[in-house]
């Protein structure tokens, strides 16, 4: 995992962004706008507060067959991935694949991440990670 440069955020599966965000906002967190990620079939918003890692709230919204539905069924509202910054998504994917990570889909541009390329990978030992190009 030497291609991972730093932690970007913790991904958090939620049923409803507004209701989860409200609890954080009451405690001084700031929420970004809510983004519609049609390719990923999810709604996304970020929560930030000085001294804390960034949190990404991911909800299935109104999308059919959103992958977030599966996560919510399995684990309920819960953190489910760590996102790391990498220099080059394709190179990092190849290296992580050789280390036993399985990519879930080809890299896509994420609107919520400023149109930077992202990809999700999974490992039986590490779980789910997201990588985002710096």
């Amino acid at each position: 995992m030497k291609f991972l440069k730093k932690l970007d955020h913790i991904g958090y599966a939620v049923n409803d962004i507004e209701s989860t965000a409200r609890r954080y906002i009451e405690s001084g967190w700031t929420m970004s706008e809510i983004y519609e990620e049609t390719i990923q079939k999810a709604r996304i918003a970020f929560l930030t507060k000085e001294g804390f890692p960034k949190i990404e709230l991911v909800s299935p919204g109104n999308y059919d067959h959103s992958p977030v539905d599966t996560i919510l069924k399995r684990s309920g509202v819960a953190p489910y991935h760590l996102c790391y910054v990498v220099e080059n998504v394709m190179e990092a994917m190849e290296a992580l694949y050789e280390e036993g990570f399985m990519p879930i889909f080809m890299p896509v541009e994420s609107i919520a991440m400023g149109n930077r390329k992202i990809c999700y990978l999974q490992s039986l030992q590490i779980g789910t990670i997201e990588i985002v190009e710096e």
Binding site: T70, M102, F105
Partner: protein, 78 residues
């Protein structure tokens, strides 16, 4: 190796990894049609296939495997 031989060896792996002891494989089965076909179950499935058939899928190949039919075809090519 022909398709039938692949299916015979693939079936117990699928039954175990997708936790369906009565699963009968068909080409069109995918995460859309098999309710226990999660990304983690699929990852275990591919890993067990590599062990059973002594092959190693390429990363781009993995990304193109969506159905049982795709997987059977990919095994046959190795």
């Amino acid at each position: 190796m022909n398709r039938d031989e692949i299916i015979v060896r693939l079936t117990p792996i699928a039954q175990n990894d997708f936790e369906k002891q009565d699963m009968i494989l068909s080409d069109e089965q995918s995460s859309e049609t098999v309710d226990t076909w999660t990304s983690f179950a699929f990852m275990r499935f591919l890993s067990d296939i590599e062990k059973e058939f002594g092959i190693k899928f390429k990363m781009m190949e993995v990304l193109s495997l969506k159905t049982i039919g795709d997987i059977v075809e990919a095994i046959a090519k190795h």
